[in-house]
Amino acid sequence: MLTLLKRIIRSGWLSFRRQGGLSVATIFIMIMVISLVTFLFLFQNITQFLISSLQEKVDISVYFKEEALEEEILKVKEELTQIPEVKEVKYVSQEQALAKFIQRHKESSVLMESLKEVGENPLLASLNISAREASQYARIANFLDDTLSPSLKNLIEKVDYYQRKSVIEKIFSLTAGINRGGILLIIILALVAILVVFNQVRLAIYSQREELTIQRLVGASNWFIRGPFLVQGAISGFLATLFCLLIFTLICWFFSPKLEILFPGLNLFGYFTGNFGIILLIQIFTGVGLGIVSSLIAIRRYLEI
């Protein structure tokens, strides 16, 4: 058994070495496929990051009348926090709202002039509410309308949910679309990848069909014939994985700072190194697994003689 295994491995390695051109072509195709799968894995992370950062920007604000006291507003905040759908509630006082307004519009002389004209702080204190999901904003707005005690409800000047409803829904349908599109893209590209590798291995084996027939006629068992091809497939997959790891380490290391400028908070290289084990497994599974499975399927038809 051990001798047989040794012979199969040696024969697979010899074939791999002697069919230099074909082996290089197979490795090249596998590099492309493994790169594609790795890219899809990273792409999934980037889209998730974009989706969650987009979702984080969505909230609704409850503005309070001028006469509302801070304790009363905080009481509303506390009641809101009890609702399971509410992810976070932030209190913005009149002073904070003004400071934010000035900070944002300090370049606009017209707005600054108008603020001076008004004389006092025209902005209202508010609560910014983030929900866990887009569909939950309507329920939060209902809570403010129906469930809140009348004394607290009277303090509310306006809830901007109804003005922002369409924008919120658009954002969430967009992120859901990106998510669905991403999954569909991954499935299609993964299928293409599998077909490309399978076809390449099939071509490599087709070119050796005469050899397979001879081996059968000389009395070689099916595993003695299959084995070297599987070894060859595994070697190609393993080498392709090594190349891909190197390529992606360099790409992530190089592009991570540039992507971070575009999307603050997105650390691609950190994500790559943090998930190195999973990425390595995905690559080995794609390379070695695809190589072996494709060889098995492609050889089958030549073993019927």
Binding site: T3, L4, R7, L14, S15, R18, Q19, Q208, E210, E211, T213, I214, Q215, R216, L217, V218, G219, A220, S221, N222, F224, L303, E304, I305
Partner: protein, 226 residues
């Protein structure tokens, strides 16, 4: 030991390669099958190797119906046969040494047996110098000798030789025929398909003559008559 029973082989659409051929071969026999090109010699050997199936009839090898052997068990049958093919059928990606060693590897011979026997057989067929050459680097005669070496290295029960001297010069032809005779004397069945008149007439062994797929003659000490 070997029995062909009413064998007919028709290739689609309607080429009859063999028609109702029956004969038996006993252990240690040396049988020549003669006939013109297309008479059905090669088909007969292919049927015994289970490379092809007959349209009608049955083939028995050591009491076992060859047609009933499951594909997974065919290697066992083939390991008992050493075949020299007309087109050599050497493994193109392996060297001469590896091609011959391969026949031993498939029967599970040890590395020691392989390294002991292969050089010896290479020496017998005069290919020691070409041990590390690939088939593409060998002449027709050298390929034929490599194929013969591969067929006999694992001491099979039967040797099927389809035109084994077709590409050899008279010197090597005589050597190979002497080698086949020696192997037969040691107890192996030799089935030789050829249309070389001189070889057949000098052998004075059993001759089965095929003509247009039919066995027209089967003589104990036959001669080449067509």
């Amino acid at each position: 030991m070997i029995k062909f029973q009413n064998i007919t082989k028709i290739y689609p659409p309607n080429t009859t390669a063999l028609e109702n051929v029956s004969f038996e071969i006993k252990p240690k026999e040396f049988v020549s099958i003669v006939g013109r090109s297309g008479a059905g010699k090669t088909t007969l050997l292919k049927l015994l190797l289970a490379e092809e199936k007959p349209t009608k009839g049955r083939i028995f090898f050591d009491g076992q119906d060859v047609l009933k052997i499951k594909p997974g068990n065919l290697p066992r049958l083939r390991r008992r046969i050493g075949a020299v093919f007309q087109d050599y059928k050497l493994l193109p990606s392996k060297t001469t040494y590896e091609n011959i060693a391969y026949a031993m590897e498939v029967i599970g011979a040890t590395d020691f047996q392989i390294s002991r026997d292969v050089p010896e057989v290479l020496e017998i067929v005069g290919l020691s110098e070409k041990a590390n050459n690939f088939p593409a680097e060998l002449s027709g005669g050298e390929k034929q000798r490599a194929a013969i070496a591969r067929a006999l290295i694992h001491r099979p029960d039967i040797i099927l030789a389809d035109e084994p001297t077709g590409n050899l010069d008279p010197y090597h032809t005589s050597d190979i025929i002497q080698l086949l005779l020696k192997i037969q004397q040691l107890g192996t069945i030799v089935i030789l398909a050829t249309h070389n008149k001189e070889i057949i007439n000098s052998l004075e062994k059993r001759v089965i003559t095929l003509e247009q797929g039919k066995a027209i003659r089967d003589e104990e000490k036959g001669r080449f008559i067509l």
